[in-house]
Amino acid sequence: MTPLVELRGVSFAYEAVPVLEDVTLAVEYCDFLGIIGPNGGGKTTLLKVMLGLLAPGRGEVRLFGEPIERFDAWHRLGYVPQKLVFDPTLPATVEEVVTTGLAARGGLFSRPSRAERERAGDALVLVGMDRHRAARIGRLSVGQQQRVLIARALVTDPEILVLDEPTGGVDPEAQASFYALLQILNRERGVTLVLVSHELAVVARAVTKVACLNRRLVFHGGPTEALTDAGLAALYGPSARVVSHLH
């Protein structure tokens, strides 16, 4: 089966500073891939290259087998950014934010159909935010905003969800329920997940595969092997040890 996401020999540099070097990576159907690594290791850049927001200097990116330049089936993919990426003082309601996920579907003058609006409602139910439909997005907590952004990404029924540091600034309790939600999506709904995080231990507990990134891909495999001292040394340097136990 064609991988959902495929990167071959991808390199990227901001001006002359190399951020990614020769990254080759495949995301298979139903994977829950955690991309971990130190800050500045190129995680977010990797996601942006993967999503076509940045063009790689070298190498090739394919989504659903299609070269990214030609890819247009964006409804099959959902992207959840690091944090609310717009001005929180804007009076946009939760429902309005979620339905922008459907905006590309219509041409001129098409409005979201009843079925699509219901899907927006369903997505909000799924993330537990349906009671906040009419709330202004800027008045919600960071964790709640993050859930709304996930609902926005889910509204097209995507096969793959790409999340960038989704739990930054979220308290531990909200974080736990957040990962529970991701596991439901992955196991029960069959949504393939790609998650970027620097929270090594938490991620390792949830994911089925780990990619360790520090400019180069230093590890790509199952989570338990990744969290050996040898694996961490390759990623963070020889003094790194596993201090947080999996429980």
Binding site: L51, G52, L53, D72, A73, W74, H75, L77, Y79, P81, V85, F86, D87, T89, L90, P91, A92, T93, E96, V97, T99, T100, G101, L102, A103, A104, G106, L108, F109, R111, P112, A134, R136, R152, T156
Partner: protein, 429 residues
């Protein structure tokens, strides 16, 4: 029907004003959150260059503005797409560049009959019947496209990155929005004035954001605020002889102030809609403060003796019932504080007894006038159009004894041209 609606120029101004009030905020709610307000201002200045070019070339100012502004829009979007638009500097280059080109063209073409004041600050008189259809078509086009693209425009306004990964063609949409901004500028500039177009794009949008709880609600509130501003501003401009754009923008600023207070009080928990209404109700009162000298001018106007004058042209002789302003008091009064109906029905002949050099103002005059100047022998040597204005002064090049004031268009429609007509007033020495 209120009297101001009886005039073609006022009907056209209101029509174009309403279109302006619909599309300016509709553009604004998408530009303001993305910190692109300056785009509108830059395009307005580029539009002024287009008007100046059209006046030099002798084509329609609207067409000139349209062509040049669209080119400017594409230029600005190119710079932005290439990431060369650092901060606001490149926009400022367009803004001052457009203004500079306009000023140079206007000074080069010295002598053409452009009312720079009206172009810059707006006027209720500038929408000519031939403009109206083009402006209407442009306005409807903008309104339809914004209505049609609303979901996509909202998506890029919230986040370009999210919009892109949802499959929205962000660059095409950005170009489209800038082009729509250019069209909006061209529609709005005649009424609001080039320097104030961006105010109409920005201020009602801010009012909407202060009041509403949803984006759609903000758009509706913004359009409502703009409609109130335009109608109140135009009516004030008509009755008080103000620059239309200034009056409209001041009303919209007052609304924004009221909305911010209301927004703040509603956040604090005490939603005082009554307070908002009180502020709104005080606006027309403030706007209607008319001239205290009006009773005096009305008295003088009523006292002007009626005469039957004659205006002889080469091929015909026209008999006109006129009011004679033959004293200092009556000459000072003229049409001040008259109703538009009186202006439509009356002609005043000012007789200064001997040739003088003086000027006429249009303060407290609610409708545009034409004024013909005649030498002591009655020879008409100049005819000017005078717009309601608190500041403008009108006078001919050279001394005159008689001045004939009538509604705008009076002389042209009767074939009376300067240098080819003579005024005969019976009983004058």
């Amino acid at each position: 029907m209120p009297e101001f609606l009886q005039y073609g120029f006022m009907q056209r101004a209101l029509l174009v004003g309403v279109i302006t009030a619909l599309i300016c905020p509709a553009i604004g709610v998408f530009l303001v959150p993305r910190r692109l307000s300056l785009v509108a201002d830059s395009l307005a200045h580029v539009a002024l260059a287009g008007v100046a070019l059209a006046l030099v070339l002798g084509v329609s100012p609207i067409l000139g503005a349209l062509g040049v502004t669209l080119a400017g829009a594409v230029g600005i979007e190119r710079l932005r797409a290439r990431g060369r638009l650092h901060g606001d500097a490149a926009l400022a280059v367009f803004l001052s560049g457009g203004f500079a080109v306009a000023v140079v063209l206007i000074s080069l073409a010295r002598g053409f009959n452009a009312d720079l004041f009206a172009l810059l600050f707006g006027s209720i008189l500038t929408v000519s019947p031939s403009d109206v259809w083009l402006i209407l078509a442009l306005g409807l086009l903008v309104a339809l496209v914004i209505g049609g693209l609303y979901p996509q425009l909202l998506a890029i306004t919230l986040s370009e990155e999210l919009a892109r990964t949802s499959g929205i063609r962000v660059s095409a949409l950005n170009l489209g929005l800038t082009v729509l901004t250019a069209l909006t500028t061209v529609v709005a500039m005649r009424i609001v004035g080039v320097l104030l177009v961006s105010a109409m794009i920005v201020i009602p949008a801010l009012t909407g954001f202060a009041l509403a709880r949803s984006f759609r609600g903000a758009l509706q509130a913004a359009i409502g605020a703009a409609l109130v501003s335009v109608v109140a501003g135009l009516v004030a401009a008509y009755y008080l002889g103000l620059a239309a754009g200034g009056a409209i923008v001041l009303v919209s600023l007052a609304l924004f102030g009221a909305a911010s207070l209301y927004g703040r009080s509603s956040r604090a928990g005490s939603r005082s809609l009554a307070g908002l209404l009180a502020v709104l109700a005080s606006l027309p009162v403030a706007a209607a403060g008319a001239d205290a000298e009006c009773p005096r001018w009305r008295e003088a106007f009523r006292g002007m003796p009626s005469r039957t004058a004659r205006i002889d042209s080469a091929d015909r002789s026209l008999t006109v019932a006129v009011k004679l302003a033959d004293t200092d008091e009556r000459r000072a009064a003229g049409f001040q504080c008259a109703t538009a109906e009186e202006i439509r029905a009356s002609v005043i002949v000012f007789d200064f007894d001997q040739e003088v050099l003086t000027q006429f103002h249009m303060q407290n005059v609610p409708a545009p006038l034409d004024i013909a100047f005649a030498k002591a022998d009655g020879r008409i040597f100049a005819i000017l159009r005078m717009a309601p204005s608190p500041t403008a002064l009108y006078g001919p090049l050279g001394p005159f004894r008689f001045a004939i004031e009538a509604r705008a268009g009076f002389f042209a429609s009767r074939g009376i041209r300067p240098g080819a007509a003579r005024l005969v007033v019976p009983g004058s020495r």
